[in-house]
Amino acid sequence: MKNERRETMNGEALSHLTAPGLKALSGQLDALARADGEREGLEGRVVSASLPMLEASVQVARPTLRLADQPLWWRAPLRVAAGVAIVATAGLTWMAMRLPQVSTNLKHQVAAKANTTTTLVADDWAASAMLLEEHSGAGLDELLSTATTLEEKLRTFESSDVLEEGAM
């Protein structure tokens, strides 16, 4: 029977109504509802009125690319063309966005190389300076020792001269 569920539901829901009169009345209301629901051809007319609206609504929610009055086969190339255009646009956009990044990377690489060269040159200078410092230090020490020796020689020489002059 078409309205079995309604009866079952009412049976459950009306369990709080213990009075037999109210239970009977509930049954009468169900019968009235069944009678009120009878209408020849109702479903068909409701479907006829609402189905086109459902289809139109679905179509609006998912638009498709098409030309008016064009046969179906004509739509496929258009879709392909639209797809290619979208992919090309996306690709170009991606490239355009990527170029500054590539340029920046190159700049960073050049700067890094320059820094490396500068560091190497500086290292050379430091090494040279150290060598020079070492050599000059040794030279100065040698010179200093030579001077000391010379001073001693002179002092020796002067004293011998005095002796020689006194002897003369």
Binding site: L22, G27, A31, L42, S50, M53, E55, V60
Partner: protein, 205 residues
């Protein structure tokens, strides 16, 4: 009849994709109940069918546009749309007396097919008694019996606590019982006619 909520999610998903078969099944499951609800208030087949068509058109548009997502409350949503449409019709009928005068909304319904335990005269008395109920009480009775909703679903439709609705339903049945038993003189044709007219004015029927 199978439980209308069985496989409902799949049906709604298919209908939302524009599946005509799924939509027909939905209409098959619910159109009778929506029509019964509208007819109970309007007491006119044509007006009730117009309301039913309008309700399903609204639901179709919203479903197709993806404005409804199934969370197990389809019936409550459907009957809220239906109840709002019934109230709109009632309001319009109140504002335009010519509609009432045409008796389009208050004409006596056609006699129902033979009911073994509930003859058409008794049915008619019950309809008249229902017309004398307060709108709030009548809505609960109609959603419960004509709409076939659970009290939980009625609570969602009317946005009221279940306990309140149970009490209101019980009170409405007691009033109906009293009217039918003659505590309130439902046999008094003059009073009934006045009640029916009031119903026509107050409910647009």
């Amino acid at each position: 009849m199978d439980d209308p909520s069985q496989g409902l999610t799949e049906l709604l998903e298919a209908a939302a994709r524009g599946d005509a078969g799924a939509w027909r099944e939905l209409v098959h499951r619910y159109s009778r109940r929506v029509f019964a609800l509208a007819k109970s208030r309007c007491r006119n087949d044509d007006v009730a069918e117009e309301i039913a068509q309008s309700v399903f058109a609204t639901v179709a548009v919203k479903l197709g546009a993806g404005e409804y997502s199934e969370v197990g409350r389809f019936e409550a949503w459907l009957f809220r749309v239906a109840m709002n449409r019934v109230r709109d019709t009632v309001r319009k009928a109140r504002r335009s007396p010519e509609v009432q005068e045409s008796a389009a909304l208050i004409e006596r319904p056609e006699r129902a097919s033979a009911e073994p335990v509930f003859d058409s005269a008794a049915m008619e008395r019950l309809r008249d008694a229902m017309a004398l109920l307060a709108d709030a009480d009548r809505e609960v009775v109609e959603l419960r019996h004509h709409g076939g909703l659970s009290f939980k679903q009625i609570a969602e439709v009317l946005d009221e606590p279940v306990g309140t609705l149970l009490a209101r339903h019980h009170r409405a049945l007691r009033k109906l019982r009293e009217m039918l038993d003659g505590v309130v003189s439902v046999g008094d044709e003059e009073k009934l006619d006045a009640g029916r007219l009031d119903s026509g004015r107050s409910s647009g029927s």
